[in-house]
């Protein structure tokens, strides 16, 4: 009978190495100041890397929900770590990673925009960014952001990796 009839026990396959791999990529890409221009790609790539690392390490084929779960957990770990580092520098040294770069970028977009109301919205956004203070609201907002964005980006990346790579028997 072919190896497709074998079932590999997932309890024998720790997910920590995959989370470290994918989380590391998500951490680096989300820390990069201008990653916002890449839209959801940083988290999709982090999730894709995590699930791919798991599949290649244990030479298995995964169910869709497990592949997505590994990816989402990796994205949460990486994005959470980069947010923690950002907040630590903000609180400790009043330094916000990439803020000046982002403001310069927004100014360029503002100058290039032909629409007056869009330019005003850019100005409003820049002012809000400069005047933002760290508080309980910031923590809540960042936590919700990490959960939702990791869920979306990780799910897409993990699903794609699960569908693309099938290296052996099914792991359940």
């Amino acid at each position: 009978m072919s190896e497709e009839s074998e079932i590999v026990d997932l309890d024998q396959c720790p997910i920590k190495p995959a989370i470290v791999t994918g989380g590391g990529i998500a951490f680096l890409l989300t820390l990069f100041p201008m990653s916002v221009v890449l839209c959801c790609l940083p988290l999709v790539l982090g999730g894709f890397a995590a699930t791919t690392a798991f599949i290649f390490k244990y030479r298995v084929r995964l169910e869709l929900k497990f592949g997505m779960k590994v990816a989402i957990l990796a994205c949460m770990a990486g994005f959470g770590a980069s947010t923690l580092l950002y907040d630590a520098l903000w609180l400790g040294f009043d330094y916000r990673i990439g803020m000046e770069l982002q403001i310069d970028f927004l100014r360029q977009m503002q100058e290039a925009s032909p629409d007056e109301s869009t330019r005003e919205q850019f100005e409003k956004g820049i002012e809000e960014m400069r005047n933002q203070t760290f508080g309980f609201g910031t923590i809540v907002s960042q936590t919700v952001t990490i959960l939702i964005c990791s869920g979306i980006g990780g799910a897409i990346g993990g699903a794609l990796a699960t569908a693309m790579f099938k290296k052996g028997p099914l792991a359940q």
Binding site: S2, E4, S5, T30, S35, V36, V37, C39, C40, P42, L43, R61, E63, L64, K65, M68, F79, M109, S113, D115, T118, Q121, S141, V144, T145, I148, C149, G151, I152, G153, A155, I156, A159, L160, T162, A163, M164, L170
Partner: protein, 154 residues
């Protein structure tokens, strides 16, 4: 639970989650809920001239991202009610990616400017192609694939 049932369950939850997300995006614009802006900021550039607007308020995601979420939702709904397995979905996904990349390149070259409806349409095609690719490759139970291969050799 078989791989096929697992895949349909993911499709159902995916469709519900994406529907909630799309309703939240539209409600935020219609009701002027600014507190939702930073939540999706890591996933989208949120440039207001590239977003659709409701009641004069720009949506919190651009037209392409809105299209991707819409296409994903349609793909999830289709698979949860009527699974279909398309053999060449990998190539169709590459075509959808190329169309979106090509649109971004052509706009950057200045051939046309800011066609939101085109970006919405291309984003929807990409989202649906991603869903169709994933469910085509994961929605079949392995027993069915082995059975087909064995019968063709006998």
């Amino acid at each position: 639970m078989s791989a096929a049932d697992s895949s349909r369950l993911v499709a159902r939850f995916g469709a519900i989650g994406l529907l909630i997300l799309l309703v939240a995006i539209m409600a935020a614009a219609a009701l002027g809920w600014g507190f939702l802006d930073p939540i999706l900021a890591p996933l989208c550039h949120q440039q207001s001239d590239r977003c659709f607007s409701i009641e004069g308020n720009a949506m919190i995601v651009c037209s392409r991202c809105l299209g991707i979420y819409l296409g994903l939702m349609i793909g999830c709904l289709a698979h949860s009610f009527r699974p279909a397995f398309i053999a060449c979905m990998g190539r169709l996904l590459v075509v959808a990616l190329a169309l979106n990349g090509g649109d971004a390149l052509v706009e950057w070259l200045g051939v046309y400017e800011n066609l939101r409806w085109l970006r919405l349409a291309l984003g929807s095609v990409l989202g649906a192609a991603i869903a169709a690719f994933v469910f085509s490759r994961t929605g079949k139970s392995p027993e069915k694939r082995s059975f087909r291969g064995d019968s063709s050799r006998s």
